[in-house]
């Protein structure tokens, strides 16, 4: 299956992270944070998710590292273990 699940995971958390970070910044010091014992939990969670989402995208096949495979016309996901070995032996 030619889907790198790291891409949708990364994208989703980058979007969630961005929403919560901005919302956290806008609502800084708001009375609603009384229930989360005074912590701006939206801002912290938002930053955390931005970092996690970005990390997922970096290690995904989207941009980095896989250029060589692409230029050879190889789709890494589609390769079986055996085919990988054959390639390594070449």
């Amino acid at each position: 299956m030619g889907l790198d699940i790291k891409i949708p995971i990364g994208l989703m958390f980058v979007i969630f992270g961005a929403i919560l970070t901005i919302f956290g910044l806008v609502t800084m010091g708001d009375a609603m944070y009384e229930i989360s014992i005074g912590k701006n939990i939206n801002l912290y969670s938002g930053i955390g998710m931005l970092a996690f989402g970005t990390f997922m995208l970096i290690i995904s096949d989207l941009k980095f590292g896989k250029r060589i495979d692409e230029s050879l016309g190889i789709d890494e996901e589609e390769l079986t273990e055996e085919a990988k070995k054959e390639l390594l032996n070449k």
């Binding site: 699940i5 994208l11 958390f13 939990i41 912290y44 969670s45 070995k85």
Partner: protein, 572 residues
């Protein structure tokens, strides 16, 4: 001043709804993206046997991280404290290691496409039929229970219409499993896994800060409870275990939960085994349960601790936290919702609720896809319409998705009759799964075990489970569903859980003895040649082809085992 959030006051804002909608869009988008790969029945029902180990490993855990886990385990955390970790450590890790090292080579290495099909190859048609039908019914029930729990929660928490929530969640799961089959369920389980972990972290962290960290929580748990419940010693998993403990003493935990129920579930339940069988190679298939074991060991901190924090808050007389009473104790199933309400402001609240929905969906989709495969291969292709083209079975697989979801909706209404979801599931596992592991153990490791032996062993085991259930009861049982339906109660257990552990032990032992005796009395019907790749002595030892020694299943198994032992010692 902190205000008490109560059921009526609670409102979500646009930000919570946008998080939910974005999540739904991603879930459906993954299904859509996989649609083009669904060319034959293998793609749809077995994910083309092509997925990487980390994906199948996380899905292995996530498929099990459904309604049963998040709501039920937080409830158990509030009821029994750290003793609940037995479901994660002793009750999961040894079985996962056993599956990876000893059993996976037979599942993945044989031509079987499902667990019932393995039984057909190893034993005979009737054993497969029994397993296929009982499994199909069980998964549909589990799926219905997931849906029921989600809809009930949305009703209690948000005031959403029960029937509407039920149909919408069922519809979303239906769409993405219909489009992308098993691959879609598995990929979404990985997404859901991260969402569940990240969505619940803020609750655990804020909750722990509130009660003064681990030590503060332990101190508060030692204080007297307003309803007179004893919560002291909740920080220990083993120390307080005795025959009077609700978990049922050492023998019950070790043999009932840790051996029979755990091995019966993790090693023979197609719902989880299917994830490993979708892996791209033998090595990846064997690594699947081991990779899953790492997060499995740490999930208790995410789901059990909120329950313990809840009790600590109640003990300390904190007026900002409220847990509705039910009979002489609390309505424990509301621990997670009430905690979310108490601690999370709009924003992360939407995230927490979305995580909760994700857990229900992953549990439900897991059941639906497992049901699909078993129904299509082991019921439809075997008994109803054999010998058709591959595209015919692909179509049937897709239609079964719709059928499965519809029947789940029906069972959701049936599930509404039972209050403690987890105890009920455990009961079903005890009746069917406990004897099943006896058949696998004998079948995989001795070539003398016959089809008749396995089949009648399974039946006697299941029957004896029902019988034990009929003669025993947990303390304070109010209905015959809880046991004692024969009218004679020979043994009373401190809880339903302890009763279930013992039912499992007895059912397994009866099945094991029956399988051995009947096998010895009946002739072998399969030759050594036919059993090659299906039985331990007749199969060449699997040589792992991993490039590095630290990638090998054997090494991973040791690491997993050692971490589990260290955790058990720390939380003794």
């Amino acid at each position: 001043m902190e205000t008490l959030p109560n059921l009526e006051q609670f409102n979500l804002t646009w930000i919570d709804y946008s998080i939910m909608i974005i999540y739904f869009a991603f879930v459906l988008g993954i299904g859509w993206a996989l649609k083009k790969y669904m060319k034959n029945a293998t793609d749809f029902l077995e994910a083309g046997r092509s997925l990487p180990a980390w994906v199948t490993g996380l899905a292995f855990i996530s498929a099990n991280l459904g309604a049963l886990e998040v709501i039920g385990m937080a409830a158990s955390g509030a009821k029994y404290g750290m003793a609940t970790v037995h479901f994660y450590w002793i009750g999961a890790i040894p079985a996962m290691i056993f599956l990876a090292i000893f059993m996976m080579p037979f599942y993945y290495g044989s031509k079987a496409r499902s667990v019932p099909e393995y039984l057909k190859l190893r034993f005979d048609e009737k054993t497969r039929g029994f397993n296929a039908f009982s499994f199909a019914i069980m998964t549909i029930f589990a799926s219905g229970i997931s849906m029921y729990a989600l809809a009930l929660l949305m009703e209690t928490l948000l005031g959403w219409n029960f029937h509407m929530s039920l149909f919408i969640s069922a519809f979303i799961v239906l769409i993405y499993t219909y489009l992308g089959g098993l691959s879609s369920a598995i990929y979404n389980e990985v997404l859901q896994f991260f969402l569940i972990v990240i969505g619940f972290l803020p609750l655990v962290i804020i909750g722990l800060i509130k009660v003064g960290g681990w030590d503060g929580m332990v101190n508060k748990l030692a204080m007297p409870n307003p309803l007179g419940l004893d919560t002291s010693g909740f920080d220990h998993s083993w120390q307080n275990i005795s025959p009077e403990h609700p978990m049922g003493g050492w023998i019950g935990i070790f043999f009932g939960l840790g051996f029979v129920l755990s091995f019966g579930y993790w090693c023979t339940n197609f719902l989880v085994v299917q994830r490993a069988m979708a892996a791209g190679s033998m090595s990846d298939a064997r690594k699947t349960p081991l990779i899953g074991a790492f997060p499995k060991m740490f999930i208790p901190f995410l789901v059990i601790i909120p329950g313990m924090i809840a009790m600590a808050l109640l003990n300390s007389g904190d007026e900002t936290f409220h847990l509705p009473a039910k009979g002489s104790s609390y309505d424990y199933d509301l621990v997670i919702p009430m905690m979310l309400k108490r601690f999370l402001p709009t924003g992360v609240l939407g995230l927490g609720l979305t995580a909760l929905m994700a857990s229900f969906m992953s549990g439900m989709a897991g059941n639906v896809t497992a049901f699909n495969t078993v129904f299509t291969y082991d019921i439809y292709q075997s008994y109803l319409v054999p010998g058709k083209s591959d595209s015919h079975y692909l179509r049937v697989g897709q239609l079964t998705t719709i059928f499965g979801v519809l029947v789940s909706i029906l069972t959701a209404y049936v599930a509404a009759m039972f209050n403690n979801i987890m105890d009920f599931l455990q009961l079903i596992f005890a009746f069917i799964n406990a004897p099943l592991f006896a058949a696998f153990l004998m079948g995989m490791f001795t070539k003398r075990t016959t089809g008749h032996g396995a089949f009648w062993g399974l039946l006697t085991g299941t029957f004896s489970a029902g019988l034990v259930h009929g003669f025993t009861q947990p303390v304070g049982a109010e209905s015959l569903v809880k046991g004692g339906w024969t009218g004679t109660v020979l043994q009373t257990f401190p809880s339903e859980m302890a009763q279930n552990f013992w039912i499992a032990i007895i059912a397994f032992s009866v099945a094991l003895v029956a399988t051995i005796v009947i096998s010895l009395l009946t002739k072998r019907t399969k030759t050594d040649e036919e059993l090659r790749g299906l039985v331990y002595q007749l199969t060449p030892k699997t040589i792992d082809d991993s490039k590095h020694w630290y990638h090998r299943p054997g090494f991973l198994a040791w690491v997993v085992g050692i971490i589990a032992v260290i955790l058990s010692i720390i939380f003794w």
